[in-house]
């Protein structure tokens, strides 16, 4: 059997793709699937939604740690660069000490913000795009007004999952083979 691939070349994952127009129905379905111990769910939505987030119960994103590291690196780089360059070729300016920390606070502050912001975006690119799961079926209506729930499942389990999705209130349920 030929293996189907997605547009990005990733191997397509088999499973059940359900569409919901009611947010509480989608949340019910997610809770039911999690209660059954089914893992690897992918939930699509056009905007973040607290009810879905609560049902999924994810851990807090590690992006904050990367932001902190980026910001601290920028701060250290700002002070390090200004002080090192001042002493590397000492020039007396306005009778002030060669290494004057107060004016260098401005440079350190700007670099804190700069590296903090850039590392935040890099972290999102890393966690959600580069390390994100590939080969998961998608429907363009998920960016419009429909919530999508993809449940990885073999053909044996699919029937059971489809039943769960229908009873939770899905408006469309289909099996996506590999």
């Amino acid at each position: 059997m030929a293996v189907r691939k997605t547009a990005r070349g990733a191997r397509r994952k088999p499973g059940v793709l359900a569409s919901f127009v009611h947010v509480d129905a989608a949340a019910d379905a997610i809770r039911a699937l999690r209660a059954r111990g089914i893992k690897g769910l992918v939930v699509y939505s056009a905007a973040p939604n607290h009810e879905i987030e609560e049902a999924l119960d994810h851990r807090v994103s590690p992006v904050r740690l990367i932001t902190l590291i980026g910001g601290l690196t920028g701060c250290a780089a700002g002070f390090g660069m200004t002080l090192w360059m001042s002493y590397d070729w000492p020039v007396l300016v306005g009778g002030k000490p060669i290494g004057s920390v107060p004016p260098y606070v401005v440079i350190a502050f700007e670099l804190t913000i700069l590296l903090g912001a850039l590392s935040t975006v890099a972290a999102v690119a890393l966690f959600s795009i580069l390390m994100g799961r590939r080969g998961v079926p998608y429907d363009p209506k998920f960016s419009d007004d429909t919530i999508g729930v993809f449940v990885p499942a073999t053909q044996d389990l699919a029937r059971q999952v489809e039943q769960m999705m229908h009873s939770a209130g899905a408006v469309e349920v289909r099996y996506e083979g590999a």
């Binding site: 009611h22 502050f109 700007e110 913000i113 903090g116 912001a117 935040t120 959600s128 960016s143």
Partner: protein, 455 residues
């Protein structure tokens, strides 16, 4: 102060008339339809102005800054005035997109994308001016700290170097913030587009699918970007103000300069926001998304910042009088009654007095009057910087060196070019990317529930 009631709708905060998520996508994607004749004419106008700027710049490169009237004692004039003007314009965008986001102010949602785009293009425009001003543009990189053949490093005690770092950081972070916010919306456009446009939006959406995992990281990151942009926007115009305040020139070395400049920047930025979105909402047929409610709130912000400016102008004159410093007193006397009286009074009338009209609700919600006021604000804020820079430089401590500068054709040419450059980018953006944030508006509209009610 009487407030305008939010438009009736289904949203938590009653902000959006459009009733469903699908309507939001349809209406915003609809703004990307083929351009009208009016849009093309506006774009041609902007490109023509930009070409005037290019020609003027080429003459300056060939002949030198003498064309711009640079002579003792005035070596900072219209170009630095316009630089500060454009940097200031950017501030309203960051205030609305980042600071109001942290304050959870819901009315920002419909207008923040256009103001954020305005910020990026305004700072892009501002960034050209120090390069035009330095005269020998081909060695602008001397401002950057890189190992050079003379083993010298930049003087980090100079506010001008602080400015290089502040403006570069501001441009980078504002652009990042704009692009980051655009990704989910571009993905929504991608899913509605067809043909080659779909391929372009597919690339621009960098694989965004709106999965739970993507939203989990994205929402956090957006919060942190807003938190980082907030102190940044307050710092940038403070640093710009220190370009002046750290010197010892009369009229410049005031401790009030940082907050005074920040308030002025936000004031001027909101003025430009009004100038841009009042016609834009009509041209793109999104009047039902950007309503009198939003304009009322923007006008209140204008009134607040205009009143802070009013206070700052009064305080500057008070401090000059109270200081008993003859140089300071002379400078401020000459701003009101000297050779630049016309510029001084233009600034005071346009900024301090015209903004006070916004105490009246009828004016705040009348778009014609708001548009006219916004033009006064733009003119007044340009003149504020002109007065601060040129009048102080023309009358310093040594009266025999006093001189006057009147803007030359090269000043007006570059100024016109900057408006063209800014307008060109803004118009191109408005027709190719969602000018209203699809995802954030959807976030405010409750999704249907099979059991009814709210979560």
């Amino acid at each position: 102060m009487a407030a305008v009631a939010p438009p009736r709708s289904v949203g938590h905060d009653g902000l959006v008339i459009t009733q469903t998520h699908a309507d939001v996508t349809r209406d915003v994607v609809g703004t990307l339809s083929p351009p009208t004749r009016g849009y093309v004419l506006l774009l041609l106008g902007a490109v023509s102005l930009f070409l005037i700027g290019i020609v003027t710049f080429l003459v300056l490169v060939k002949d030198g800054l003498g064309h711009a009237g640079y002579q003792p004692p005035i070596f900072w004039s219209v170009y630095i005035t316009t630089f500060v003007f454009w940097v200031g314009i950017g501030h309203a965008g960051t205030l609305i997109s980042a600071i109001l986001f942290l304050f959870r102010s819901p009315w920002r949602t419909a207008v923040y994308r256009s103001t954020e785009a305005m910020t990026v293009f305004a700072v892009m425009t501002a960034g050209l001016f120090p390069i035009i001003h330095i005269g020998r543009q081909w060695i602008f990189y001397w401002l950057l700290p890189y190992p050079n053949s003379r083993f010298l490093w930049p003087n980090f005690k100079s506010p001008l170097i602080w400015d290089v770092f502040a403006i570069s950081t501001y441009l980078t972070v504002s652009t990042t913030f704009l692009v980051f916010g655009l990704i989910p919306d571009v993905a929504a456009v991608r899913d509605k587009a067809s043909g080659w446009r779909k391929k372009v939006y597919e690339l621009a959406s960098v694989g965004w699918r709106g999965t739970d995992n993507q939203w989990r990281h994205y929402s956090r990151a957006y919060l942190y970007l807003a938190a980082l942009a907030t102190p940044l926007v307050l710092s940038v115009h403070s640093v710009v103000s220190w370009d002046f305040a750290v010197s010892i020139l009369p009229g410049w070395h005031g401790t009030i300069f940082a907050p005074y400049f920040v308030a002025g920047a936000i004031y001027s930025g909101i003025g430009m926001v009004l100038t841009l979105i009042i016609p834009l909402r009509r041209a793109l047929r999104i009047e039902h998304m950007i309503t009198a409610y939003h304009f009322d709130n923007l006008a209140k912000l204008t009134l607040l910042t205009g009143s802070i400016l009013f206070y700052a102008y009064g305080m500057e004159y008070f401090v000059a009088w109270y200081s008993s410093n003859i140089f300071e007193q002379t400078t401020f006397y000459r701003r009101a009654f000297g050779p630049y009286w016309w510029a001084g009074w233009t600034m005071i009338i346009c900024n301090a007095f015209v903004s006070q009209l916004l105490w009246f609700r009828k004016i705040r919600t009348n778009l014609t009057s708001l548009f006219v006021i916004s033009i006064f604000i733009n003119i007044g804020m340009w003149f504020e910087r002109y007065v601060i820079i040129v009048s102080s430089l023309s009358n310093d401590y040594v009266p025999w060196a006093w001189d006057q500068l009147n803007p030359t054709w090269a000043d007006w040419g570059i100024l016109a070019g900057s408006f063209g450059w800014f307008g060109m980018w803004f118009l191109l953006f408005a027709k190719n990317f969602p000018i209203v944030a699809i995802q954030e508006i959807k976030e405010m509209i409750p999704m249907p529930r099979k059991r009814g009610g709210h979560h």
